[in-house]
């Protein structure tokens, strides 16, 4: 009797509960999307309309002027290209260096391995803003300020990526490697032909995380490159906002254009993106 009562109590308002959950989630969605919608709506207005009081919600006549005039205000295409190029180099570099080191740390026995691995891990504890000034001075000494090399060089190496790759290599059974060794494969072949294809989900995750970081990074690209043609999109947007302070449609158009590629890539690789982020919490 009592059991029955309890059961009915827990199942008392399933529909009511679901409605509340939906209401909360829907409100959250609105709060998440509203700024993007406002970004788009503003970008389709004229400068005069954007600052009219009271503000119009929908543009009176939809005009893409803010987009078409953007290249006159700053070298937008060059900045786009700079961002694509440096992001790809950073992703490729991290995948290569981190997976190679991760393989060695997970699969090869050599003297000092544990010490060197802990040394790598210690880097994880250093906040990124702590390093930025000496890294800047270093790049300056190398004569690389205002070059694209400055943007990607310090970011090719990642302790976190190495740790992540090592975890993936550790999860592959030893038998596979033994079989390959009996067949006469060396580490080079085992790494490139057998192991890398097996940890593809790990590579995708690291690639996705690194891309997100490289594309959106502000402080580093901004301080090393002050020439407009060497800027990435983040620094370019900061410049745009500083120069055209009240041209809100252009600022919004620039912001939207700069974010669209990652949103599209995210929409396509949605599952990998989410898995990649979820992996950062691995224990």
């Amino acid at each position: 009797m009592e059991n029955k009562m309890k059961l009915s109590r827990s199942g008392r308002h399933p529909r009511y509960g679901k409605a509340v959950v939906h209401a909360v989630l829907f409100l959250g969605c609105f709060i998440t999307l509203a700024p993007f919608i406002w970004m788009f709506l503003t970008s389709m207005k004229t400068q005069v309309e954007a600052v009219s009081i009271p503000p119009s919600i929908l543009p009176r006549n939809w005009r893409p002027d803010a987009y078409t005039s953007l290249p006159e205000k700053l070298p937008f295409f060059t900045m786009y290209w700079n961002t694509i190029l440096t992001s790809l180099i950073i992703v490729a570099g991290q995948l290569l260096f981190c997976s190679a080191a991760g393989y060695a740390f997970a699969r090869i026995h050599f003297p000092g391995r544990n010490f060197l691995f802990i040394l790598c891990l210690s880097v994880l504890m250093i906040p990124s803003s702590f390093l930025i000034l000496p890294q800047y001075l270093l790049i300056q000494k190398m004569g690389l300020l205002n070059t694209l090399h400055a943007i990607y060089l310090p970011n090719l190496f990642s302790a976190f990526g190495t740790f992540l790759m090592r975890q993936f290599f550790m999860s592959i059974p030893l038998e596979l490697e033994d079989a390959a060794r009996i067949d006469g494969c060396g580490h080079g072949r085992i790494y490139s032909r057998i192991m890398l294809p097996l940890i593809k989900p790990g590579l995708v995750s690291l690639g996705v995380l690194t891309l997100r970081f490289a594309w959106n990074n502000l402080m580093w690209p901004m301080i090393v490159n002050t020439e407009k043609t060497k800027m990435t999109l983040t620094a370019g947007l900061s410049y745009l906002q500083g120069q055209y302070i009240s041209d809100y449609p252009s600022i919004m158009a620039g912001a939207l254009l700069a974010t669209i590629p990652l949103i599209i890539i995210y929409a396509v690789f949605q599952r990998q993106f989410i898995e990649g982020i979820a992996l950062t919490g691995i224990k």
Partner: protein, 300 residues
């Protein structure tokens, strides 16, 4: 004999591969991470002026820091950001993760949408929010007027500026942490919930008594990383508050002040001392959290 030499030869080949494969990484980390760590500590003891000429200053940068009221205010602001942003982000992320873990229609759509701010650059996010908060033409003031309130200069008022930046940061950070927590929640065995269901525990009770205790290892990770990133808050402040604004001193974080010293005032020695202080604070807080984790984190 021959067998032994073959084995040692094989070992040497292995070692060569091992060192060879970690060499590029170690060289890169050495140049761009380990050397800079040394350099920051060194520079914090020097006065680094124009053209990077440096002269020995002893602890002068540190004593200056303790007497610098702007520094203290920046530190206070940063702690204020931490107090507002960290609990809000973590709690909202946890609630959303729990809601998205229920069997509910459109779950995947919600998941995709909540994640969008995480892939968007913080620069663009800050730009649109700055426009929303704009005192003269912003949409927020328009909404405030509709409801009969008084419009505010949100971003130049000393009472609201820090709160506005905090809201934007929370808005930006929830999706990321939600995904990590969702992964953690999905790792909880459904047996616990089935047993609770039989016992007649409601959903809220299940959340409090099962989900929260069992997700604490993931929660611990989320708290640690959120603390570290919040203490280094910079992008949003830089993009939303003009440096010359009077509100800057009420919004400025330690990293913002560090940035201005390093790259605007060209006081690189002093900036290094600020970096050392921040490093020490982050280190101590992280160690402290590691220490007290036994009290609230449940490992199986």
């Amino acid at each position: 004999m021959t067998v032994k030499t073959r084995i040692t030869r094989q070992k040497r080949v292995d070692w060569a591969w091992g060192y060879g494969m970690i060499l590029p990484l170690l060289a890169g980390l050495g140049l761009f991470y380990f050397y800079p760590v040394y350099k920051v500590f060194r520079d914090s003891l020097y006065t680094v002026g124009a053209f990077n000429r440096s002269s020995w200053a002893g602890l002068a940068n540190y004593t200056k820091m303790f007497q610098d009221s702007v520094m203290w205010r920046s530190l206070g602001n940063t702690l204020m950001y931490a107090v507002i942003i960290i609990p809000l982000t973590v709690v909202l992320a946890l609630i959303l993760a729990a809601l998205l873990n229920t069997r509910i229609r459109g779950r995947d759509v919600y998941r995709v949408i909540y994640f969008i701010p995480t892939v968007t650059m913080s620069v663009a996010i800050a730009m649109v929010w700055r426009w929303i908060f704009n005192g003269d033409f912003g949409i927020l003031n328009h909404i405030v007027r509709i409801f009969g309130g008084t419009p505010q200069y949100w971003l130049s008022d000393e009472h609201t500026v820090l709160l506005c930046i905090s809201i934007v940061s929370v808005w930006m950070g929830v999706g990321y942490n939600m995904i990590i927590l969702l992964a953690g929640i999905q790792g909880i065995s459904s047996n616990y919930y089935e047993a609770a269901e039989l016992e007649g525990a409601g959903k809220i009770r299940q959340f409090l008594k099962i989900t929260i205790p069992l997700v604490t290892p993931t929660l611990f990770f989320v708290v640690i990383t959120t603390v570290i990133s919040t203490l280094q808050i910079f992008d949003v402040i830089y993009m939303m508050i003009p440096t010359k604004s009077i509100a800057m001193s009420y919004a400025q974080s330690v990293v913002m002040y560090f940035y201005r010293n390093a790259f605007e005032y060209s006081a690189k020695g002093y900036a290094s001392a600020i970096a050392v202080l921040l490093f020490a604070i982050i280190m101590l807080l992280t160690l402290f959290q590691m220490r007290i984790q036994k009290k609230w984190v449940h490992y199986d």
